[in-house]
Subunit: 250 residues, 2 copies
């Protein structure tokens, strides 16, 4: 396991709980390497040249900008090498490896929160049918939801994820900030957040839209903008998203 | 029940299922009035002057801008009159009613999707302790989650709701749009959407933040902006929210 961040941690745990042996963890940071190795009960190193040669699969789970740096610092022989990045094409591996692919678990991962992988879509791609079938087997050992996508499709899915996960979570953060200003607790928002998300299971998001922008309720929108007077960035965001809701539903 | 929209429908159903009798529905639109009255097995009218005088509580569940219009068209006597709007202060009722308050169920409602009220926060406010205790009893018959807020607090909560519900749902819509362009199905986003939302139950949204903006990963962010070239509004939104994530987590 090359990397010891959020994804490396959760993927490493899922693989080792499903019968795979992680033989070694590499991380640039000693502390992170040691921490993940302890969880996976395996060896660790911070020296790329000390990564073992005896393994079936190298999983590169580092940030996109570090992938090529890692690749260039070692010979990879004929072992299967995969990266786990949404927005980096598979072709980045071509100059360095003979057998390669992508293994992209499509979920949000933090170090602390254990993820149940069984419904998580794992998006795979490989440079040969043989390697694809190895990745299918690996993915199938942790999830029932295996997807075959090429690098362009994967980037589009990653971009959509930024909107529906990373940006959505930031909107939750904004909700918390606004309530905190008045000494109100975030927890009142929880039933609303869960209902809004669970609506996507049975209804299109277009048909679930509600709120002042959908109703073109200028009185309410102007009140909201007035109370965002001290938050120019939120005012801008409120206007931008409201306009887009009006445009989408006109 | 004055109004026959999303909120009037779901609140009417919840009240009538919990032992209350809705005697009559008023709506400006005959079709909507008839539709809700059929669900609630009660009378209906489109004429404000024909709203019955024999009732304990009038629930005004119309859009914010229509509240005052409805109030002005009839005498309300000593009956308890409540509105259900997040961003309209209770004081709007003062010139028209003797006994009044606010009954604001804090959830997203559509006509079609039945809402389970038992965890929904119902925010109440009244012009007297007696009226407050009537509203407490009414709220307590449909939810375990009763909240006492004044009009300023309620407006702040409503504003937060626009961010964490209405805007979040629009981000889901954007995710669907982006995937549709490449013939990809929205359904792949569902596990990610549900995980992102469920994280708020046990973790602060700040601590659950992930993604390229948090990592300050300019390579990925620039790729995403490049693939939004034909969507100037989404490019603007991507930049605005990414900047705010970076600022919040610096």
């Amino acid at each position: 396991m090359i990397g010891a961040g959020n994804l490396a941690t959760q993927l490493g745990l899922a693989l080792s709980e499903n019968g795979h042996t992680i033989v070694q963890v590499w991380s640039r940071t000693l502390k992170s390497a040691a921490k993940l190795a302890a969880k996976l009960k395996c060896q660790y190193t911070t020296d790329i040249s000390l990564i073992y040669y005896e393994t079936d699969i190298y999983i590169i789970a580092v940030s996109d900008q570090a992938i090529e740096e890692v690749l260039a610092k070692r010979l990879w022989g004929t072992a299967l090498v995969v990266h786990t990045a949404g927005s980096t094409p598979m072709s980045i591996l071509y100059p360095y490896c003979k057998n390669f692919g992508v293994f992209y678990p499509f979920q949000t991962f933090t170090i602390a929160k254990k993820v149940n992988f069984c419904q998580v879509p794992v998006c795979i791609e490989a440079n040969s049918p043989q390697n694809l079938s190895v990745l299918k087997e690996l993915a199938g050992s942790i999830t029932q939801n295996i997807r075959l996508f090429d690098s362009d499709q994967r980037q589009k899915i990653h971009l959509a994820a930024v909107f529906v996960c990373n940006f959505v979570n930031h909107l939750y953060t904004i909700g918390a900030e606004l309530l905190k200003e008045d000494g109100l607790d975030f927890e009142i928002l929880i039933p609303l957040i869960l209902e809004t998300a669970s609506n996507v299971m049975n209804h299109s998001p277009e048909s679930s839209q509600t709120g002042p922008a959908l109703r073109k309720d200028k009185i309410v929108m102007n009140k909201h903008l007035a109370s965002l007077e001290n938050h120019p960035d939120l005012k801008k965001l409120y206007t931008l998203v409201s306009k887009r809701i009006i445009k989408t539903h006109k």
